[in-house]
Subunit: 230 residues, 2 copies
Amino acid sequence: MTRARTAHGSVVLLSGGMDSATCLALAARRGRPVHALTVVYGQRHGREVDCARALARRFRVARHVVVRLPIGGFLASTLTRRNRPVPRRAAARNRIPSTYVPARNTILLALALGYAESHHLGAIYLGANAIDYSGYPDCRPEYLRAFERLTRLATRAGVERGETFRVRAPLLRMTKAEIVRTGERLHVPWALTWSCYLGGRRPCGWCASCRLRARGFRAAGVQDPLTSRG
Amino acid sequence: MTRARTAHGSVVLLSGGMDSATCLALAARRGRPVHALTVVYGQRHGREVDCARALARRFRVARHVVVRLPIGGFLASTLTRRNRPVPRRAAARNRIPSTYVPARNTILLALALGYAESHHLGAIYLGANAIDYSGYPDCRPEYLRAFERLTRLATRAGVERGETFRVRAPLLRMTKAEIVRTGERLHVPWALTWSCYLGGRRPCGWCASCRLRARGFRAAGVQDPLTSRG
């Protein structure tokens, strides 16, 4: 969709989870400037943010920005409200999970777009993947393509130079096991990633996100350093 | 563009300026619940926010939320950087002004979309107008329509019920004088609106925004209470 491209480099939306960490590793190996943007929007804990900072250092990003977005109070989701329980199981097939945060990816991509245009970066990396897009509307390929098209209308770069900001979601069609294998190949330090919905010293092991992670590592035949004992 | 619509009510992006105040007045007279969302993103002063609060009270909105978005440091614009002078004149024709904030309306609309879906509101009001869209890419009708289309792909309401969140920009084709006349008819309290790029006790009178406002009031034959002496 790109007609003219002058902007090199990319910004990676880095939550600190295993998906965004793998996404960062994929962006970093391209040898162009990589920036990381962590948006903290009322998650239950800051554990992921610590991981994001450590990952940004490990992959030597040009700049890492952490933005605290105080919108937890107005977005309806079990992930942004403190008094609702996090789900133990993944949602039933074809159902949108209760962890759905309204317009989450639109908000994240909009912030990343503003960052990218301000810093002359041509691409936005997002760790959305197939398992997500079975449930979340804003992880589906058609949504991501529509946002990408919007960037040409939304920006000075689009209007003046016909540029489209690329929305790259390289994990989109991967299973969790494939993400683990990809991350292994790129030396993602799994110990510096966090998936658990809770913020304990160790992952809880029973929330939907912990289970998904465990299944991915098991299927890939890789030991997860966060849960290995001893 | 709407196939099914169950959500009534709207959220108004309320900056505290004369355009968003008029927009709020237009939304309020429809007799459906109106919420107001004020996003403070590194403007130079809090004067507009005080106006937004006063306007929200005056128009008896169901809820007014003020979100402080600490992104001034990473968005390139004279409006978000403290050490750059604000422009005295409007930009030359067909040039994007230096007050352009990258992805500003995409960020605002994304937040409003998250808010609207969380509170079952079907429409987002934005005070964009013709004078803006001659300069800002994200005030143009084609951009606003594209964002509106995106909402169907981006949300649970879109996926599950085929809903599109309406993006209403009722001032889009109005001149400043028409906005003043519309606001007069709807009893917008101009004394509770703020346009000046600076945050003094009185408007500076020479910045691009003050001049535009003054021209609008003059052309409409209305006295601006903010600048009337005595």
